[in-house]
């Protein structure tokens, strides 16, 4: 019984029209596990960092019962570094720097204790590495969710399609769903993507919320309208972490429970954008989450 997450653990430098931060811990696996740890306590992380990664953050993972046996620390090398600048709309952004560093030679190795994970979250990394993780699993998990992006579709579509055959849930944005399927209508895109392997599809639409497709049903989850979006970095990963945390905690992979999971992911993402990097996620309490969940329910009440 565990939730295994593979993804990046990194440093980010982020600039928005309103403020900037030079160096904050980031990476998909960071956001995913921080979010999921609010709901589920057997998190395992597979990633790689350099010897510049702060002990304080490792301690924070441990405090949250996030196992780091699978987090490789490469002596004498630097952690993955990404720098980006958001446009006025706080959606589109320019990448300023991508220093792969330790990520260039990342070979995900699952410790023995990870190979029977019941839930697996494949964060947005090279689809060949996502496949390597699946290949090391000793039992078929109850749910494998995968996140990917247009970048991998552009340069490695065949690898993306190969790994899709082995997963249960795909989470991508609306433009990526159109690119992957060749269909403009998201209903048709979902039908085409189900032919590729996944049985559930979650389409992220940022400020417009998310759509969950599966079992001939659709759930439309709103986003919380916010007066300020401070920093959208990590929101999609936090969303995925909330979903997997809810699913792992409830042990129920039905479509009805996926509706609640997507709502939980949306709640978590709404916190993520309130401060730079994972800073807001590091301070919220159970009471904050419950209150935000109530706000979402009022938003949807008719």
């Amino acid at each position: 019984m565990s939730l295994l997450t593979v993804g990046t653990v990194a440093f980010d430098a982020i600039e928005t029209p309103y403020d900037k931060v030079d160096r904050v811990v980031g990476g998909s696996a960071t956001y995913i596990t921080l979010a999921s740890s609010n709901f589920y306590k057997e998190n395992q992380i597979v990633s790689v960092v350099g010897d510049d990664f702060p002990d304080e953050m490792i301690a924070e993972f441990h405090k949250r019962a996030i196992d780091t046996e699978g987090l490789q620390v490469i002596e004498g090398e630097k952690s993955f570094f990404w720098s980006g600048r958001y446009h006025e709309n706080m959606i589109s952004r320019d990448t300023l720097v991508t220093d792969l560093n330790v990520l260039a030679n990342f070979d995900p190795v699952l410790p023995a204790a990870y190979r029977k994970a019941k839930y697996v979250m494949l964060g947005n990394i090279d689809p060949n590495l996502q496949m390597k993780v699946i290949d090391q699993l000793e039992e078929r998990p109850d749910m494998i969710m995968l996140d990917t992006m247009n970048f991998w579709m552009d340069i490695a579509m065949d690898s993306v399609k190969s790994v899709l055959k082995h997963i249960d849930v795909l989470t991508i944005n609306d433009e990526e769903a159109r690119q992957l399927s060749g269909e403009h209508s998201l209903v048709k895109a979902a039908a085409a993507i189900f032919e590729m392997g996944p049985k559930y599809l979650i389409i992220k639409k940022g400020e417009h919320g998310a759509l969950l497709f599966g079992e001939n049903q659709i759930f439309s989850c709103p986003a919380l309208p916010l007066a300020e979006v401070f920093d959208p970095t990590g929101a999609g990963d936090t969303f995925a972490g909330g979903i997997m945390g809810h699913i792992a905690a409830s042990g129920d992979v039905s479509f009805e429970n996926m509706r609640k999971a997507v709502l939980t992911g949306s709640v978590m993402a709404s916190f993520c954008v309130e401060k730079f990097g994972p800073n807001r996620l590091l301070e919220i309490t159970k009471a904050d989450i419950d209150q935000r969940m109530d706000e979402f329910r009022r938003l949807m009440t008719v």
Copy 2:
């Protein structure tokens, strides 16, 4: 007790990437009253047509208990004609022809029986004409809703702002809300627009649904994901007609009831896009509407 609608009654020629139609009845007042007549039976229409307007459509209005005493017919002149071509995304479009014809000299005159209307829907026309309608009312209606667009904000922002002082509900799209308020965040845009007069704001987001703001609450209404959008012409007017029809039928202008009204409007708009012009609206039954309403509720269930 009546619902007074002012707007255009016209002919449209519409081209989409998939099909085209040379001449179909259109205009905001047409869509609004056709939608509202499914829920409320005391509809009054104020508009103008030429002598080319088909008797069959007038008969259709009467069959639906839409009073046309306020529909001026100008002998020897032609009805307003609009022609447009939709892009691949079925959202953006190019206007090919705008022949104002009778609309050029339209002076809305309210028959005596219309001047005590309890509900008023000001469709998207010149804000000075919208104001002229308000000026002829003998009693303050329970609800005045107004639709407008970026075109009027570009050329007559002062007139738009003048009429906003006299209304209860404004319905515009997200870009128009940003233009009107000067705020990018829709939460901040709503606060700014409430300062201008309206107490409720409905932001139309097309395939992403609609947001209702008011009384420090927000309702996020989904759009039905569709495999095909055949023709989006009139969807916004149909949405408004469903809202006003629901409000007039229930006689309840509370925020809680506005939630249901916006859902009703969304249901009606989801039909509108299924065929060219108002063709789908002309054939749906109460059973179709009830079934679609159930589909929307499943879409929102968590």
